[in-house]
Symmetry: C2
Subunit: 341 residues, 2 copies
């Protein structure tokens, strides 16, 4: 069968057989020499490696995947590629994956749980595993999926599914203490998407602190997490009459800041705003945003490490199931003392 050879170079790509022929050994020996070095005589291995280098052999990952089941590809699912939060994640995963010789497949789930399962199911066989940054799936569906394909989640805690969690809830405590120490008593939590796990965790944390200080936090929202929701969110916050708010994430917080500026509400003199994540832009918006700095890139790296260690089923079947990453409060210009009026 004369295949349609779609790449320009006239010469057929070098295969394991070419090397075998060149060395006078069987293809199987070449395969072993390259992947399972202990299995062949050091001398022949040396010869084979030399020949491979000489011929510029590049293994065909398709063929390898077909026979071994390992594809060398890991998918990273994000709910929206344009959300800067994921830039950090991608950066982290990219680094680790490349270092380990894996390819990174970027998948945008467009905030849809259905699309998420569908895509993952379709690609199941072409993937060695997946990292779910911000899955919108119900716990049950997620657990089920994890039986089909090795999974690690980021910011999502489901029993039985390894995860990397950024401990923003703990940070919420810091943020609240910060605001309270500045004299604020009426504080709002601006909620992100309702089905978002981190959103719920943050809200619970906010309630905790509130209770501890015998205060009540107002919840406004939910809002989709994008700058576009800023105006609505800002107006809602103003209606509540609070003097400070903690916002689900920086994207939304920045949107709020913009709206407040339009409405000539001074920040922080009239309203203090705290964000979450410390994304690109949080430091140069106006005023610079006080926020909970999350180790986003590290989260990506850790998630990859966890996934990879699960795949290397050579040793330790019991790796840590969940890693918690600490955050810290970064105080910038969007928070200040309560102005007694």
């Amino acid at each position: 069968m004369p295949r349609a050879h779609q790449f320009g170079s006239a010469d057929r790509p070098v295969t394991i057989n070419d090397i075998a022929a060149a060395c006078g050994v069987a293809a199987s020996t070449v395969s072993r020499a390259l992947n399972n070095p202990g299995r062949v005589n050091p001398a022949t291995r040396e010869r084979i490696e030399a020949a491979a280098r000489e011929l510029r052999y590049v293994p065909n990952s398709q063929a390898r995947a077909l026979s071994s089941g390992r594809t060398g590809a890991i998918a990273v699912l994000v709910s929206d590629v344009t959300n800067p939060f994921y830039f950090g994640v991608l950066r982290g995963t990219q680094q680790q994956l490349k270092a380990a010789g894996y390819a990174q497949l970027l998948i945008d789930t467009e905030d849809s749980g259905e699309l998420e399962v569908e895509l993952l199911h379709k690609m199941r066989r072409s993937l060695d595993g997946a990292i779910l940054a911000a899955s919108r799936l119900p716990d049950k569906a997620l657990a089920k999926l994890a039986e089909d394909i090795p999974l690690v989640t980021i910011n999502r805690n489901v029993r039985g599914v390894p995860s990397t969690i950024i401990d923003t809830p703990a940070g919420i405590h810091q943020a609240a203490e910060h605001l309270i120490s500045l004299g604020h008593r009426r504080i709002a939590y601006v909620s992100g998407p309702e089905r978002s796990w981190p959103n719920e965790a943050r809200w619970r944390a906010a309630q905790d602190v509130a209770a501890r200080h015998r205060l009540t936090f107002t919840r406004v929202g939910p809002f989709p997490s994008g700058r576009g929701s800023g105006p609505a969110a800002a107006d809602a916050v103003l209606n509540t009459g609070v003097t400070a708010c903690i916002v689900f994430n920086d994207l939304l917080a920045i949107g709020i800041l913009q709206r407040l500026r339009e409405r000539r509400v001074r920040v922080p003199e009239e309203l203090s705003v705290v964000g979450c994540d410390d994304i690109f832009g949080a430091d140069f918006c106006h005023p610079p945003l006080t926020t909970l700095t999350a180790p986003i890139e590290q989260a990506g790296r850790v998630a990859v490490s966890m996934l990879l260690s699960r795949l290397d089923r050579t040793t330790a079947p019991t790796a840590r199931q969940s890693v918690m990453l600490p955050v810290h409060l970064t105080v910038r210009g969007s928070t200040g003392p309560l102005l007694s009026s």
Copy 2:
């Protein structure tokens, strides 16, 4: 050979043979029914499709790739995943690729030409094509690469390689006219990385306008295109004594803005700043950045379309070799009239 079946589900995944068995036809017929509908009897095709649906058949892309040579994967190479400019590109490519049923491989070349060729060469066989956003390769290397693997570049013009070009140079004219109309006469161009093609194009455009108005633009730089270069760039600009500057890209421009703020140089009263691209953040930095708004996402989409149409070698061997996308000037707060002092 009992393969290590690494995915939890006990039941072996459904193959084309299962369908064939279920329908009482040969595997080849199933293959044709699914990929080459005209080739089989509509009645049997119907039966086969029903069975496939019933059994939830998902084609194994590895196997398909091995035999057909088509992998269904397109790589998108960016020089730095954390550069917001690429968010837009990725968004665009993502959309189009998904619509066409392709998978998107994200590759970060870390601004290194060597890494770029190496990775591309390694993955050559697992790719149907690649999109190079911001290649750092010399023209010659790029042309050579294009013979091996279908390529489309973004913002890079090399003879023989199809490309999507954002016409920022034309925008530079608008930007310069804008500044000149505001009374500026001494203007600087803040240069990005020296080996960057768009950077050179923008500088040439700047020189053009300057000449037309019998002015001379000062060139400062080069600087790596990141916010980190902001301070150095800002200081360099101040040293030249210009009253306005056009900056290679928004990232750098935002960095400059930050530095100017630190140094208490008022923008635009003392110095006007124009960026390029209109990335995320350009509208909410302080002051909001006047910039050349580029159709970034569209560029990604167009690049994918061009690539895909090249792959579909069914018809028209002569698609357009190069598409030029227009930009426009978006005036915000970072430019203003020259303050006579």
